[in-house]
Symmetry: C2
Subunit: 213 residues, 2 copies
Amino acid sequence: MEQIPEPAKERLLFLMRILEKNREKPLTSGNLEALTGWSSHTIRKDISFLGGDYGGGPGGGAKKAGTSCGYNPETLMPAIKAALGLNRRRRFCVVGLGRLGSAYLNFQSFELGEFELAAGFDSNVNRVEILKSPVPLYPAYKIPEAVNRFAIEIALLCVPGEAAQASAEKLAAAGIRGIVNFAPVVLSLPPEVAVRNVYVMDELRALAVKISH
Amino acid sequence: MEQIPEPAKERLLFLMRILEKNREKPLTSGNLEALTGWSSHTIRKDISFLGGDYGGGPGGGAKKAGTSCGYNPETLMPAIKAALGLNRRRRFCVVGLGRLGSAYLNFQSFELGEFELAAGFDSNVNRVEILKSPVPLYPAYKIPEAVNRFAIEIALLCVPGEAAQASAEKLAAAGIRGIVNFAPVVLSLPPEVAVRNVYVMDELRALAVKISH
DNA sequence: CCATGTGAATGCGTTCACAGCC
DNA sequence: GGCTGTGAACGCATTCACATGG
């Protein structure tokens, strides 16, 4: 069940994004190849990892009758979620309410019910009081209490680089399970805290690598 | 020469980040294992891909004398850059000056001389006139002219999702070579334009996958 | 014909193990 | 002893090829 290759998981996350924008209309593996750049072989294999159940297609191996051609988003989407363990709704917060943090405070497309923005934090008490926000804001020293009370599992870490490690440790101590790190530093955290880094600098470099053949 | 595996390239980019923060002091592959979570085997192999030249370590295969133990950042850093084709300085711009875009307009850590922020664009002329910025700002219709005049190669695309595809096409037509896409949509562009997507939603999901075992 | 689905084969990236040098 | 460097072995992900069904 859980022997889905790691790269395949990443691709499935990307497919979810396409399926969201494209409900109703069935998508064939050929369509998806055009949209993603991955071969139709890869896509069919990835989908087959989530247990023969497939989306709702036409023929396939030896299954119940489908309606037409291609994958049915309405069927495939929940199948991916289930296989990846994305059933439960999870709460997250934004830490550091500078330009970047306040941008994500007001970010759309979080309104899908899958994740719930529960709070924002900043060490600058002024900011906390002044900023307009759709969710409650707290000074940073209330992180342990609030993370616990609201059962917040994930944090978007948007503080400046100098403060990132300290903030991350505070979050880890408060029992956070995962951090999306936007600060341009490498965090050292206990292994039970999952980290995903978003390094704009690295994205620029990766592009430079690509475009220099 | 250029048969460095794609995953290895990504790891080397990450190593650059560590080396930048840690000039002078040599780093052993063991140190790097602790910092990155990757095995020392993997790290040594990755570095060996950039042509036997190594950083400046102690022994090694059969090379010139080094100074002490571990990799010398001052030597290793340029070696990685050279192998990855990051020699040339490149100019980039920010498109879409909402909260997110203006955050990146004023982002630090771009000051390393490797990339140069050359301009910002927004379809809202008001914004262009009002915003304070370290670089010149232009209305969106000037993208073709400015991209050409300043020889801008890369764009950070920070416009809302609805506008992203149109803006990306405009950039592509203007001759941009690479786009970092922050909008939560999948872009369809000619293959000569490289794209890297930064989907915060996907990062949240990836973390949710990890923390649900 | 078109499509999906999946075992089997290929190929590639990681891991091992050892050689060389401090 | 420590470390790096690298060919060779391994294992896993991708690709192929074909079976199945509309």
